[in-house]
């Protein structure tokens, strides 16, 4: 909402308050002022000129040499290129020395050999937005009324000596979508009175009801009123009206349209003017459209309607879409002489739905949507009749033809001052509260310790006690509210075990050198199921903004791979990222997907790079695995985790494992498939992903100290020749199972494949540690235990070297 202060002054006294100060006061007490716009934009030396004569420029087709009187007897030659300049016009002249918006400075100049002492201006050149300049002057200079005086201040005349406040309105304050609404707000803030327009006009003896009948057949239209005005002369509106409209961001058209727009801005009540003769039937019937019914709207578009759209008809065909846009068939034109003014209350929900469906949002629909003031509908119709009589020479017929079932009673709110003070944590006196409510012009009565309030119907947002709390607080001032903290809390705050462990998981990842990434949850259909152990049904948006962000992910890896690729493409020689985030799998009974929190990591490129020591190491599978193992160790789950060869879309078939916790799959780890590496331009890259919900939910025993060993341990080594494909993990299992309780640890300390081995074979060496916490072991005991291991290995077909 754009609020011209010149216009606002018609309703409330704001003299002596700087625009900035007023803006600050309005902002602090309820409505945010987004901008304070000085419409004069620092312009100077812009005056009214009278074009005394106009000749063609001798050397330029498109230029005219004009003699312009810019003050008593002060005639100057000005070259003008505008197509619509003509002798006899009163125009706007920027004299030499003038400054115009956009840093333009006017100087004496020669144009194709002819002297020019200034510039005849268009409104755009004076900083007026092109879209609000009347069409007639949109492509040329602006022409002033004939009675204007040469040499006088043109800015004053066209309303540019004005400041406009741009209000950023929240949906609840639709009352401020009108100049009067803003006037009430400002009056409350400044403790002033509101001066309402005086409505008075003469009527002729003919009666409106003899010209038109009104019928309403839809509950969405509880009030429809029609006024008829005859002998209207369509013309340009007076300058004052045009200025106000332009300041409000509305383009002037002709007096009839301008009057309806003026009242729209003044009262917040949309009106519509029909050409009476074009209606043809002497009747108005408001009803729901029939499915597929069409109407050509004012913008010459044919619109197809649905059965829930509310239309105004002439009893036969639609002549307007209620509250949204008029029809071309009944439009006011230059030939119009009799107009029907519609003042109506249309249901907000209905208007909202229709305007949304048709993609037609207008100043009118915006106001109906939020609910207009029921008590202003008829007044606005009267105001229109008055202005049509005053400004368009119209003759108003007696009476209003109306169907009126609208409830116009105010909302009653009963609230105790204690409630207000308790809610705010303050001690505002009853007198102060009454004073605030009076300033707001709320009808209030104090009785039995209660405030009985009838809120004016313009304030549709006032319905409950809390609304009164807000009104009191905002006008008393939020700065006055003290600062306290909530009392009486029995709850001890804290993180849940899951939340704590998740932070620990973050610490482990970061301690391992990984940076935390956050990627988008939405991805493409193609990537949604990639890198998963098992793809589930996907969740897709109804109306995605792009295919790339259309579907919810089932793995964090696709976007982490993209992030790695992004970094490598920017010359990073190493990438190490992890992410914790949700994935979305299948569907629950409640129609929502299962959300699982995952942890994923990616390592790519160099891992160790101690340049001057010559120590360099690229990432490999076991770096990724080591990080995952560190996490399980931190969580006390090491002994419950195993790795099992697996196949995953996008990963290397020989370097991929499922991660099992207590025998259940909880994740995967692997090398990026060579074709994926090529696609993303990555070198060695390894990834892992865990179902964090499952991993962090695993319960572990309380931590209890185990005594530090006091007796020496004894180690024995075993070297085995194995098939290349035989996993060392299986051998460790055999050893563990065969070893007695004296066997405390099995470690792989060497793996060899190469020249000295038969093809298809490898040598793996294990170190076994025997130990008894109670005493020193004898040789015999160790030999006996070790022999059991050797026997089991031989039985399993392993060849000792």
């Amino acid at each position: 909402m754009l609020v011209s202060l010149n216009w606002l002054k018609q309703y409330v006294d704001i003299d002596g308050i700087a625009a900035e100060e007023l803006a600050e006061k309005i902002t602090r007490s309820g409505i945010e002022v987004d901008a304070v716009i000085d419409r004069s934009k620092g312009m100077t030396n812009v005056v009214v000129g009278h074009v005394v004569s106009k000749e063609k420029h001798p050397d330029a087709d498109k230029l005219n040499v004009c003699q312009v009187e810019v003050g008593e007897g002060d005639i100057r030659q000005i070259i003008c290129g505008a197509p619509n300049v003509a002798a006899g016009q009163k125009v706007i002249v920027a004299l030499p020395g003038a400054r115009l918006p956009g840093g333009v400075k006017i100087k004496k100049a020669k144009m194709r050999g002819q002297e020019s002492n200034g510039m005849i201006c268009s409104l755009q050149e004076l900083g007026v937005e092109g879209r609000v300049v009347p069409k007639k002057y949109a492509e040329g200079i602006y022409v002033l009324p004939e009675d204007t005086v040469p040499g006088s201040d043109a800015l004053e005349l066209i309303g540019l000596r004005d400041t406009v406040l741009e209000l950023g309105l929240t949906p609840n304050r639709s009352d401020a979508l009108s100049m009067l609404g803003v006037a009430y707000e400002v009056a409350a803030i400044l403790s002033k009175e509101v001066k309402l327009p005086e409505i008075a006009y003469n009527t002729i003896s003919e009666k409106a009801e003899d010209y038109i009948k009104v019928r309403v057949e839809a509950k969405e239209n509880p009030l429809y009123a029609a006024k008829v005005v005859k002998n209207v002369k369509i013309a340009e509106s007076p300058l004052w009206l045009q200025q106000y409209l332009m300041a409000a961001g509305v383009r002037p058209h002709n007096n009839v349209v301008d009057i309806t727009n003026y009242i729209l801005m003044e009262y917040g009540q949309p009106l519509h003017a029909f050409d009476y003769d074009a209606l043809k039937t002497n009747e108005i019937l408001v009803r729901l459209a029939s499915e597929g019914e069409t109407i050509v709207t004012l913008d010459d578009q044919e619109r197809t309607l649905k059965a829930h759209n509310l239309v105004i008809t002439n009893g036969q065909e639609p002549v307007a879409i209620a509250g949204v846009m008029g029809g071309a068939n009944s439009e006011v034109t230059t030939d119009t002489t009799t107009v029907v003014i519609e003042a109506a209350y249309f249901d907000g929900f209905s208007v909202r739905r229709t305007s949304k469906e048709l993609g037609l949002r207008s100043d009118s629909s915006a106001r109906f949507e939020k609910g207009v003031d029921p008590n202003r509908v008829l007044i606005a119709g009267e105001r229109a009749a008055q202005l049509l009589a005053e400004l368009a020479g119209g003759e108003v017929l007696e009476g209003t033809v109306a169907v009126d079932d609208l409830d116009k009673s105010p909302a009653r709110v009963v609230v105790s001052p204690d409630f207000i003070n308790n809610r705010l944590g303050m001690k505002i006196s009853l007198e102060e509260m009454l004073s605030i409510l009076n300033r707001l012009q709320f009808d209030v009565e104090a009785a039995n310790g209660l405030l009985i309030i009838d809120a004016p119907t313009r304030r549709q947002d006032i319905k409950i006690e809390e609304d009164i709390v807000e009104e009191i607080a905002r006008l008393y001032g939020y700065d006055e509210i003290p600062m306290t903290l909530p009392e009486g809390n029995e709850q001890i705050g804290g993180l849940t075990p899951y939340q704590e462990k998740r932070r620990i998981a973050r610490n482990v990842m970061e301690g391992a050198g990984l940076l935390q990434a956050v990627t988008y949850s939405l991805t493409s259909d193609e990537l949604a199921q990639k890198f998963t152990l098992k793809a589930e049904d996907t969740t897709r948006l109804l109306m995605p903004m792009s295919e790339e962000r259309s579907t919810l992910r089932q793995s964090l890896l696709p976007h982490l791979v993209e992030a790695a690729s992004y970094n490598i493409a920017r010359k990073a020689d190493s990438v190490a990222l992890y992410e914790i985030g949700s994935v979305f799998l299948g569907k629950t009974e409640e129609e929502l997907p299962f959300e699982e929190e995952h942890l994923a990591l990616i390592v790519s490129g160099k891992w160790v790079d101690h340049a001057w020591q010559g120590e360099k190491l690229s990432v490999d599978f076991f770096i990724a695995k080591g990080i995952i193992e560190s996490l399980f160790e931190k969580l006390g789950l090491t002994d419950r985790v195993s790795f099992e060869k697996a196949s995953v879309d996008g990963l290397h078939p020989g370097q991929t494992a499922a991660i099992l916790l207590d025998g259940e799959k909880v994740g995967l780890i692997g090398g990026l498939h060579p074709t994926e590496r090529k696609r993303y331009d990555l070198k060695e890259t390894f990834v892992a992903e865990l179902n964090l919900n499952a991993v962090l939910a695993a319960q572990v025993e309380e931590l209890v100290y185990v005594s530090v060993p006091r007796f020496p341990a004894i180690t024995r080594d075993i070297a085995l020749e194995l098939d290349r494909s035989k996993p060392a993990g299986e051998i460790i299992e055999i050893i563990r199972n065969a070893g007695t309780k004296l066997l405390k640890e099995v470690k792989v300390f060497d793996v060899y494949e190469g020249d000295k081995m038969e093809a298809g074979k490898k040598s793996v060496a294990f170190s076994l540690t025997y130990f008894d916490p109670e005493r020193t072991l004898t040789d015999e005991e160790v030999v006996s235990a070790h022999n059991k291991v050797l026997k089991a290995l031989t039985e399993a077909g392993a060849e000792l070297r």
């Binding site: 929240t170 909202r352 992030a563 992890y578």
Partner: protein, 345 residues
């Protein structure tokens, strides 16, 4: 014999002086003081001496021996010191060469902001509540006083999945779910999480972002409690000398609703680019929980009241760290992420 002894002493001392390392010195010791050395031989030959001469010679031999031993030890000390010195010299390194740095990762700046806020509220007795990112229309809108067709739904453009399910547009549905769960009991929670809006990604908009909302419900929760709580938050995040101010606003789930500004941390309120020359920076929205929201979740709005607030983690991080483009948070450029490593203050 005495003559012989003197000569031996002279010889031994000369060799001692000549020895240049511990081995040579040891050779000298073995040669002169050892069991097979000449001095021992001399002692053995004492038997031939007369009983009168014996004590005299004995004393003399001892003196020589002590003298040689003392000088030997002195020389050992010198040589040992020298050997250590040489070792130290040899082991000296260029201390200015870079060390083997341990790889270190760090939290994402948004997590950093969220954890900082979580910790503050946990210390004030709050719990952290979380909920699904795909939500029912009911929890995201209807339970928050935003029935279908409510004009305020336009304020948030929503990614719908079906007519009834959507990507949550705020973390408020977690509040709604918590209220339903607590069945009338007091609540103090903070709800961090990802949220989604139909926005084209640009420098100031992101279709996915992080929010942290807070909710307190109990008997006699007042707007002054909200103000005090927000003041604590502002000071924690932007410094102890921050001031806050509340401005009236509108959210369907709170009444009264406010927006909170903090005094500009860059210019201290004098006006600069960060605060658009107003001295104040808009930080968050808040308000007293709307009675409809309380009632819908089964609370008696006549008996209890509450406050709620919502903060954008990106906005806080952008202000706090001077980040100029919201897309940085989701690009995951290591050169960006690794900047949020060190401690502050």
């Amino acid at each position: 014999m005495e003559q012989q002894l003197k000569q031996l002493e002279q010889e031994a001392l000369a060799k001692l002086q000549a020895a240049s390392n511990l081995k040579e010195l040891n050779d000298v010791r073995v040669a002169y003081l050892g069991k097979k050395g000449p001095i021992t031989d001399l002692l053995k030959g004492m038997g031939k001496l007369s009983p009168e001469e014996r004590p005299k010679m004995g004393a003399l031999v001892n003196t020589v021996r002590e003298n040689v031993t003392a000088q030997l030890e002195e020389k050992v000390a010198v040589l040992e010191e020298q050997a250590i010195y040489e070792q130290l010299e040899k082991e000296s390194i260029d201390l200015t060469l870079p060390g083997r740095k341990v790889r270190q990762g760090n939290r994402h700046p948004l997590t950093r902001v969220i954890e900082e806020i979580e910790d503050l509220f946990v210390s004030m007795g709050y719990e952290i509540a979380e909920g699904p990112e795909v939500e029912k229309d009911y929890y995201n809108f209807e339970a928050l006083n935003l029935p279908k067709g409510h004009p305020a739904r336009d304020m948030q453009d929503t990614f719908y999945i079906t007519e009834e399910t959507l990507l949550r547009t705020h973390t408020s549905p977690v509040q709604a779910r918590t209220m339903e769960l607590k069945k009338g009991e007091p609540i103090r929670i903070i709800c961090p999480g990802k949220v989604f809006r139909r926005d084209n990604d640009d420098a100031t908009h992101s279709h996915q972002f992080m929010q942290i909302e807070g909710l307190v419900i109990g008997e006699n929760i007042r707007m002054s409690d909200l103000k005090g709580t927000l003041d604590a938050l502002a000071k924690k995040m932007f410094g102890d000398d921050r001031e806050i101010r509340l401005r009236p606003s509108f959210f369907p789930f709170t009444e009264p609703s406010v927006e909170m500004d903090i005094s500009c941390f860059k210019c201290g309120g004098n006006g600069c680019n960060v605060c658009k020359h107003t001295g104040w920076i808009e930080i968050l929205g808040a308000g007293m929980v709307h009675p409809n929201v309380l009632e819908m979740a089964g609370y008696d709005s006549k008996k209890v009241s509450g406050f709620a607030f919502g903060i954008g983690a990106e906005r806080i991080a952008m202000l706090k760290y001077g980040v100029d483009d919201i897309r940085h948070f989701y690009t995951n450029d290591s050169r960006f992420l690794s900047q949020f490593h060190r401690t502050e203050r």
